[in-house]
Symmetry: C2
Subunit: 207 residues, 2 copies
DNA sequence: GGCGATCCTTGATCTCGATCAACCGTCAGA
DNA sequence: TCTGACGGTTGATCGAGATCAAGGATCGCC
């Protein structure tokens, strides 16, 4: 049995609607996940119940790997924010597969490096960019990962997007409004990007 | 030759004084580092030159692993902020060692998981805690990792600490002042923690 | 000792985004 | 058709922390 088969063999495919909670902070980290369809939000809560989104994972992305190598507890909460289909794999099985074939370890190292890089981007844009610049950057990313289409679709509710960007829903709404002048139009979940280069410039300079 | 020897064999020990730049954003990621003495700051710069500290690494900690598995470019800058002695290892040699012994891959996975966890903590405390709470949390961590001594020593300049916590030096200074009431005294780099439990409580509740 | 550099603190003011509150459009169910 | 829930927008106000500005302490060096 080759590596790919060994992995697939251990995967369990599941479906879950919006608002399904996959795990909570402190739960023992029994599996890691690969998203097939829909979106899943990873977040933390403050003592007062405020929510800080740590990650938003869509088709093709995986999460939960790190918890398997640490305390065996998830340090975050996971919730489906857009009806999802995903694959789950038992941590135990995963560790077995890795031991059987170290190539898997390299794949894992690659994916965790990517997560690290994304968190670094996240942290630095939180600290170095204005709210509007962060929104602009988010739209640019959406645009680039959708074949540079002029109209992109927000992956989930605006309130979740806001939380991803470290903003309140109100602030996100205002940010969208303020970008009308540079060719950004928002109707429900459809965002029209009139001038991608202008937007890109704006994300960098804030002007 | 066993694993440990194989790794040590490839390490190069170096020393560098404060203000030495180890690498810049965009440099090709040729090595990863293990700190022996002193402190090294990992940070990003905005277009206007503002600095966002991403990490602060001291004795026993390593950094730069992730870059080896990604674009081969450092996504951040690295600077010595407290006279340092550290070990360097060529990425090429590292990859070789991993291939020779997969146990190393597990060690790397563990260390990268830890980095991920730290970044998650960082990001969520930025968003969920007030500036004073973040400072309190920082002091608690110092206290705990120094055998719970009543007096802890700040690892480097206050301006760097401030940047680590996402604050201006002024804000850090004011945060210290405001914690006098709960038994925290700061004289140069010595921080006296009169009532650790009180401080811990404060870090959580902000009161 | 005198001088400047570095690091830190303190005060005054300003600004961005949070918060509070009202309102609108859409949709589902009675 | 009415009604309430939900998601979103907009307006008014507030406040934490940034920014600007000045001054103080400590140090090394001539």
């Amino acid at each position: 049995m080759n590596v790919r088969e060994a992995v697939f063999d251990q995967l369990v495919i599941e479906e879950a609607p919006k608002k399904t909670f996959l795990f909570s902070e402190g739960d023992s980290a029994t599996c890691f996940y690969i998203v097939i369809r829909g979106w899943i939000s990873i977040y933390r809560l403050s003592v007062e119940g405020k929510r800080a989104n740590i990650g938003l994972f869509g088709p093709g992305e995986s999460f939960g790997e790190a918890a398997m190598f640490l305390s065996m507890r998830y340090p975050v909460n996971g919730e489906v924010v857009e009806n999802a289909r995903f694959a789950r794999m038992e941590a135990r099985a995963m560790r077995q597969v890795i031991e059987d074939d170290p190539a898997i370890a390299f794949a894992l190292l690659g994916s965790m490096s990517k997560h690290l890089k994304i968190l670094v981007d996240h942290l630095s844009s939180d600290r170095l960019l204005s709210s509007v610049q962060r929104v602009a950057r988010f739209l640019i990313n959406l645009h680039d990962s959708n074949g540079k289409a002029d109209v992109v679709r927000l992956p989930c509710e605006k309130a979740v997007i806001a939380s991803v960007l470290g903003l309140t829903p109100e602030a996100l709404s205002r940010a969208f409004s303020s970008m009308r002048g540079i060719g950004v139009g928002v109707v429900r979940r459809e965002v029209t990007i009139g001038d991608p280069d202008r937007l890109r410039e704006f994300a960098l300079s804030g002007k």
